[in-house]
Structures are given as C-alpha cells and as structure tokens.
C-alpha cells in the first residue's frame, strides 16, 4: 500500500504531469478546494456543489452524509475522477487532477481509486475471479496472485468461479470490494455500499471497509447514521455545502 505513486506510470514522475504541485504541509491525501459543480437541465443551470472545501488524510475512513440531492454522489464522483468540477480544484497527493487530460485521468484513476457501488455493478457474463481481474486487464498488468489475494481478503476465494447470479447480494458486494482493491489503490470510494443489503450483511460490509481503512483512504457515502458512525469522521453535506 506504500507504492503510491510508484505503481502508476503516469504519476511516477510528477514533473511529467499536467497537474500542478501545490504545497501541502499537513500531508492530506485529498484536498477539495472551492469545488463547484453545475449541471444544465434544459434551459436551467443547477449548481449542485457550492464551493466545497474538504481535506481527507491518508488512511482515513470518512463518511459523507446528507439528504437526497445534497451533492454526496456528485462530490464522490469528482473525487473519484468520474466527473470534473465546474470550478475549483481537486488535489490527490498534491497533484491537481482537474488539470489532467482525459487520457491521463483514466490511467491515474485506474491506479489510484477503487469504486464500490450500491448495486454492485458486476459484469454478469464473468465469474467472480474475472470481475475482480477487470482492472488488471484494463491496466495491462499481469495477475501475480493479486486477484486471488483480493478475493481471499473478502473471504470469497472459494467462490471465485461463480458468476454473479450464483452469488448472494452480500457476496456480490464483497466481489465488488475485491475488484475495487485489486489494484491496491490509495482511495476506496463506496457509494451506499449497503443500500441493497440487509442489516446483518450491511454490517459485515462496513466491517470489511473498516478493515481496509488504514491501508487506504475509505470514503463512504451513506444515508445510515448508524453505519456512518463506524467511520473516523462524518462529513455532512447540505444543499451543496459542507456542514461538518
């Protein structure tokens, strides 16, 4: 887990990056600076995030809570580089990712961020093993036991040849978590990871995420305050602003 940024071809030499280096004396992994996000809905423009500032340390487990439409998922997508802020900057380990080209961003994201979604989002035609191997395939990396290791980490090595339809909801989410961590990213983003699970299974997933924190920064979006209290810190969003 200490291989950041050495395992990233794009990020191995910060001087080659189009993102600019910004001084970060505290050593935060993620810095969100004055981030705004506007969407156009027909003729109207809707501002979902209003100049958000947020800093998250390396290895921290942070929950983001808020009502529907408060901007939680938008903020997570921006941190995860699936989306770009309209204004402001996002720094990952002092590198401003908003300055990166789309191509650079794809490579940076695949090696820096893992995603876990509420609906698991596994590819139905692939086995658990193959689903977990997907990030390696796209990165062009060899599987030197990383896939099996990730499945063992989530306790599903014995189910690696099963397809998603043959797995329970909890097992599918654990496969999704294995897929998210197989590249050993610095950041794990989980959007309502227990939303489609029963309470017991949800608790098990939260325990799994908590066990991963420390090795990586875990950011979880949730509505469930009880689950959020397992994290190191809770960030509240209200109408696109941080109300910590």
């Amino acid at each position: 887990m200490s291989d950041y940024p050495e395992n990233s071809e794009t990020s191995s030499n910060p001087e080659n990056l189009s993102g600019s280096l910004i001084e970060n004396p505290v050593g935060n992994l993620i810095q969100v600076k004055d981030a705004t996000k506007k969407y156009r809905l027909g003729h109207n423009e809707v501002e979902v995030l209003h100049g958000i500032n947020l800093e998250i340390s390396e290895g921290e487990f942070v929950s983001i809570m808020g009502q529907s439409g408060s901007g939680k998922t938008t903020l997570m997508n921006i941190i995860g580089m699936l989306d770009r802020p309209t204004d402001g900057s996002i720094l990952i380990k002092d590198i401003d990712i908003t300055k990166k080209s789309q191509k650079e961003l794809v490579d940076f994201r695949r090696r820096t961020v893992g995603f876990v979604f509420q609906q698991f989002h596994l590819i139905p035609s692939l086995t658990a093993y193959e689903n977990v191997a997907l990030p390696l395939v796209f990165a062009g990396d060899k599987d030197d036991g990383a896939v099996k290791g990730a499945l063992e980490r989530v306790g599903l090595a014995h189910r690696m040849n099963h397809k998603p339809v043959e797995l329970s909801g909890g097992e599918q989410q654990r496969v999704a978590i294995a897929r998210a961590v197989v590249m050993k990213p610095k950041i794990l983003l989980a959007d309502e990871p227990t939303g489609a699970l029963d309470a017991n299974t949800g608790s098990m997933i939260i325990s799994l995420l908590k066990s991963l924190a420390g090795e990586m920064t875990v950011i979880m979006v949730t509505h469930n305050r009880e689950l959020a209290e397992h994290s190191d810190r809770i960030v509240y969003l209200k109408d696109g602003n941080v109300a910590e």
Partner: protein, 394 residues
C-alpha cells in the same frame, strides 16, 4: 484474461441477439461468393469453348470490295485483290514477335469440284495440323493419312456428314474428284460426324492433292492460326501477322468470344451490384444490431470505464466484436455461397464450378472490414457514455 476474452464471453452470452447481425453478413457473403464462383466458372467455360473453336486467328488475302452504282441504284460490287497466299511465304509467320504463342498454323485451300454428278466444296488441309486444330472432330472410320509419296497416287479424304449420306460415302469408298480436265482418284478414310459447322458439307483432302485438283499448286486460300493461351494478346498477334504479310488480313475470332464475354460480364456486373447492395444493407444491419447491443450494455460500458477501461479499449472491444461477427458470417456465407453456386450454376450457365478456396481470404477480409465499419457508430455511442451518469441512473 485479455480484452478479447471479455468480448468472446460477451458474444457467447448474447449469441441469439447477435445472430441477426451474423445472418446479415452471411447473406451478403453468400451472395458475393455465389456470384464470383458462378461467373468465374462461366468465364472459364467460355475460354475453354473459345479454345474449342480451334483457330482464333484467320489469315486470308485482303479483298477490296468496290461498290458498283448505276445512277442511284446499286448493281453489286467488284472484288479486287489477290485471292491466294503463296505457300512458300507461310514460314514467315514464325518471324513475328509473339511467335512463341503460335501453336498451330494450318493452311487451307478451298475450291469446288465434281464428285460424280454433284458439285462439292473441297478443302485441302495439312492432315496432321488439322488434327491438332480440330481435336473434337469425331470420325467414323479414321483420320485421313498425310499426303505422302506412298499415297500420292490415291490420297485419302474425309467427308462431312451432310454429303456422306446422300452420296453413299463411308470408310473405304473409292471416289473420283474432278475439275475441268483434272481428276483425282481418292479413298474415303472416314466420315466426320456432324459438328454443325461448314465442314459438314466438305470433302477434305490433303493440301497437295487439293492444289493439284484445283490447279493451285503452291497456293493456299487461308491460314488458320491457333494462338495458344487464355489471355494472350490475340489482337496484337493479328497486327504483327499483318505486318509480316502485307496484303493479307489477319482477323481475330476473339470477337465472337468477346461478344459472349460481354453478355457474361454484363450479367456478372448486375449480380455483383446486387451483392454490393446486400453488403451495404448487411453493414447497416450489423451496425443497427450492435448499436442496440451497446444501448443494452451502457451500464456495463460505464462499469468498465469506471474500473479503468480507456476510450481506446472500449473502441477496440467493439471493433473486435464487429470483426468476429464479420468472420463468422463470412465463413458461413462462403460455405453457403459455394453450395448455392454448385446447385445454381449448372442450371444458369451450364458449368459446374469448383470451390474457389482462393477467394476465401478476400471474402473473410471484406466481411471483417464490414463488421468493423459497422462498429464505428456503436463505438461512438459507447464513447459518449458518462460512467458517472450511467451508474447513477441504475
């Protein structure tokens, strides 16, 4: 696991839906293969047929026809010019540039003689060369022997079927041909079965005997030349012969073949046009099927992009899928087209075409390119997938 493994697994999962795309490629490929196979066989058949004509160049004295007009009324024409070729000049034909293409040069002498009370057309030939030139002649009896010193007193002749019956001629029948005061005693060696050609009405005898009979020693009426090749420049050879023999005209018989070829080519062009239209429709069908497929897979494409697939990888996967559809369709289409041609060609063009394995790579290539071109629009659609948007909406 590699990118192509992902595609193959995906195709395997949706094989029923992609079957329509494959089917459209099959139809286009089968149409192309059937057209190419059938018309190639037809063309080859025509070439073989043209070889059966024997000679493909006829050399004869150039005759100028001068129209005779009385006032505004035509009263016929007057032919001028030498009507015979000196036999001693014939070897000059082998001095032309394309002399290696001259397989046979057969002299002919035509005239009319009396056979009993009937007038018959006699044709003097070199029996050996004629046999080479007309291998398909079926002779009841045997081919006449060459005119040698041994049989010069009583040469052998062959007669066409149209005169053999009425005149009661058959193998071994002695005949006397005469013209003016000259007569030649001969013996029928064989009767040529009907060919449908002029020879059905001829008495064919050795050249020397015919020259003696017709008082044309050292002269021939024409030369029949066989240029031995499928695509040799017959017109060019004709031109070279005319250069060597001023005053003679060398006419290519390829015009006959060309006329038939023109019909075949016209039909082939029409059939190929239909095939190309089928191919275009096929491209649209594949594109449409794949676009529908991409729309169904928006979530999966979004997931793949979220877990690290680049634009290039997404496009590569769709192009590979198109290529797979193309090659499967092309392979099946080749088999069906070949089978269809084997059934239809004997009825349409009276030939049995062989399997043209040599066009398989070309057909496969066209089908692969078709599949890949058809993937371009779906690929553009896939590139437009915003993973954040797609994953939020499901």
């Amino acid at each position: 696991m590699r990118l192509h493994t992902l595609v193959l697994k995906d195709i395997s999962r949706r094989k029923t839906k992609l079957g329509l795309a494959v089917l459209s490629v099959v139809v286009a490929a089968a149409a192309i293969v059937a057209v190419v196979t059938t018309f190639s066989a037809a063309t080859e058949g025509l070439y073989e047929e043209s070889n059966q004509f024997g000679a493909n160049i006829i050399v004869r004295p150039e005759v100028t026809n001068i129209p005779l007009v009385e006032g505004s009324t035509s009263i016929g024409s007057l032919s001028t010019g030498e009507n015979y070729i000196e036999e001693s000049e014939i070897p000059k034909i082998h001095t032309i540039q394309n002399n290696s293409n001259l397989a046979v040069v057969a002299p002919r002498l035509y005239g009319v003689a009396k056979l009993g009370d009937s007038n018959v057309v006699v044709m003097g030939v070199d029996p050996e060369k004629e046999k080479t030139l007309k291998p398909w002649w079926k002779v009841q009896g045997r081919w006449m022997a060459a005119n040698t010193s041994e049989n010069s007193e009583k040469p052998e002749v062959m007669v066409g079927s149209d005169i053999a019956g009425p005149l009661g001629l058959k193998e071994g029948t002695p005949i006397t041909l005469s013209q003016g005061n000259i007569s030649v005693e001969a013996q029928v060696a064989g009767v040529i079965e009907s060919t449908g050609g002029n020879e059905d009405g001829y008495v064919i005898l050795p050249l020397a005997a015919s020259q003696y009979l017709l008082s044309k020693e050292g002269k021939v009426s024409s030369l029949e030349v066989r240029a031995l090749c499928n695509d040799c420049p017959v017109e060019e050879i004709s031109r070279q012969i005319e250069e060597v023999f001023p005053g003679l005209e060398a006419r290519s018989m390829s015009q006959i073949v060309e006329t038939e070829m023109a019909v075949v080519e016209h039909t082939e062009s029409s059939a190929m046009a239909v095939s190309i239209i089928t191919l275009l429709v096929s491209t649209l069908t594949v594109a449409s099927t794949m676009l529908a497929s991409v729309n169904e897979k928006l979530k999966e494409i979004g997931i793949m992009r979220a877990v690290g697939a680049s634009d290039r990888q997404v496009v590569s996967m769709l192009l590979f899928e198109g290529a797979i559809i193309g090659i499967i369709g092309g392979g099946i289409g080749f088999a069906i087209g070949t089978a269809a041609s084997a059934i239809a060609a004997p009825m349409l063009v009276s030939v049995s075409p062989p399997t043209m394995w040599e066009i398989l790579p070309g057909v496969a290539g066209i089908c692969i390119v078709t599949g890949m071109i058809a993937s371009i629009i779906p690929a553009k659609r896939a590139l437009g997938v915003d993973p954040a948007e797609v994953l939020r909406s499901v």
